[in-house]
Symmetry: C2
Subunit: 265 residues, 2 copies
């Protein structure tokens, strides 16, 4: 079982920020990544539709045979982690719980901001997870639908991103948060812009890093870490891989090739 790969899925390229952190922490592990690029994005879609897509993605990875399932998409994590946990015997790790735990540990003012897609914010998943850890923390959520297309356009540090961030984050600035959860796997690309708008007093919580830590901890505890060296990640996508490979490089921080198109629905 320990020689099996870690399965990671996302609606598209965003989850590559999570894959990158898992590789950094666990360079000896094999990773199989699935991006549902034919149906991306999930952030504007309903809980029922996103859950259906997540079940299909998990079914594909489980069919290959993986030892853990990482839901590297905040919207899918918000809506579908419980369903997936009930369905599969292997560990299912979403990105909400790790990000929430880190934010709760970091905040001193007990005023935490959360930014994400429309779906993630509406679900209230981060607010519930943070307040389950500490009911005295006030959570200030803000949906930021333009951040994903800005990151995919390569404009993460463009004046347009700056102006957009100023508008989206104004209520969080006024609320005097001291920690901000980047509740979407695209958002680590916007770190510089977000930090410039919020100033040095606000810690940015990158769910990707926290999730990778949790994956490492779970595999170690369950004695599921690999013993023999593994090859590079394998990438599967549901649309042709051209755009995934082009845009994905920026998320991975390295050239990306070898994506293979599959049908999962």
């Amino acid at each position: 079982m320990s020689e099996r790969a870690i399965g990671v899925f996302d609606s598209g390229v965003g989850g590559l920020t999570v894959l990158k952190e898992i590789r950094r922490l666990l360079p000896g592990e094999e990773i199989i990544y699935l991006g549902d690029t034919a149906r991306v994005p999930y952030g504007t879609k309903s809980p029922a539709t996103v859950t259906r897509y997540a079940l299909e993605a998990a079914g594909f990875l489980d069919g290959i045979g993986v030892k853990a399932l990482v839901v590297a998409c905040n919207t899918a994590s918000s809506f579908a982690v419980e369903t997936l946990t009930q369905r599969y015997a292997i560990p299912v790790i979403g990105v909400i719980e790790p990000g929430a735990r880190r934010a709760a540990a970091l905040t001193r003012s007990r005023r935490v901001g959360v930014i994400g897609t429309e779906g993630t914010i509406k679900s209230g998943a981060y607010s519930r997870a943070i307040q389950a850890l500490d009911p005295h923390i006030s959570v200030y959520p803000a949906a930021c639908p333009l951040f994903v297309p800005l990151a995919e356009e390569g404009w993460a540090e463009h004046p347009v991103a700056r102006l957009t961030a100023e508008e989206y984050l104004e209520p969080l600035r006024q609320a005097q948060i001291d920690a901000l959860v980047l509740g979407c796997t695209h958002y680590p690309l916007l770190k510089k812009t977000l930090a410039a708008v919020l100033g040095a007093g606000v810690e940015l919580v990158d769910s990707a890093e926290e999730t990778a830590l949790q994956v490492a901890g779970i595999l170690r505890t369950a004695d599921l870490l690999r013993r023999s060296p593994a090859g590079p990640p394998r990438y599967f996508v549901t649309d042709v891989p051209t755009r995934f490979e082009r845009v994905g490089g920026a998320f991975l921080g390295a050239p990306l090739e070898g994506g293979r198109q599959v049908e999962i629905d």
Copy 2:
């Protein structure tokens, strides 16, 4: 046959700008609209995937029984109108041809700009259609991926939209175009911003208006105009209708309700 509805489909809400123009020109007609909101957008997806989705959408409308099929999505029109025309005996009307004809008629400098999604621009469909009408026209295409999310966010006249338009349109300004095809059904919402950036010397060609004119012309010629009065449009969507109804109102210019979720894949 003439008492049947006109079928209109789009990846989501954008095609409502076309529906609105058809209703204005042909208020007595019944319209059935299908928005593929579970898989929106089409603009970043491959020709093969968009063609598959378009065939499923057309199959659904044909199953209900419509007298004409309007492909109210520039990306789907770019990739799939030929395939649909071969498959169905009823008239299939895309948005490319009408927009191209209008631009070719309007330009005096023979320098025409075309803006659209990544898919529409890459397809070269507008350039081919315009140059088939007049090979002496130079076409300047520009992909504008952020315009769709800006329109859906309700920021069509926001300073962020202005700054984005200035950047996207700069090459077209330098090319001294005198007509600009709005090659995406979301773009009519951005007319004010686009006009402010381009100035009075550039005519904006709204594919929605031109397409409605072509639909009216085809139905009239084929003696397919309805004789008895029709009810209001019927709306079908592939995800739950909540967001479609909320965002769609801005595209329709009137409140939208009564969307019904269906499966088409």
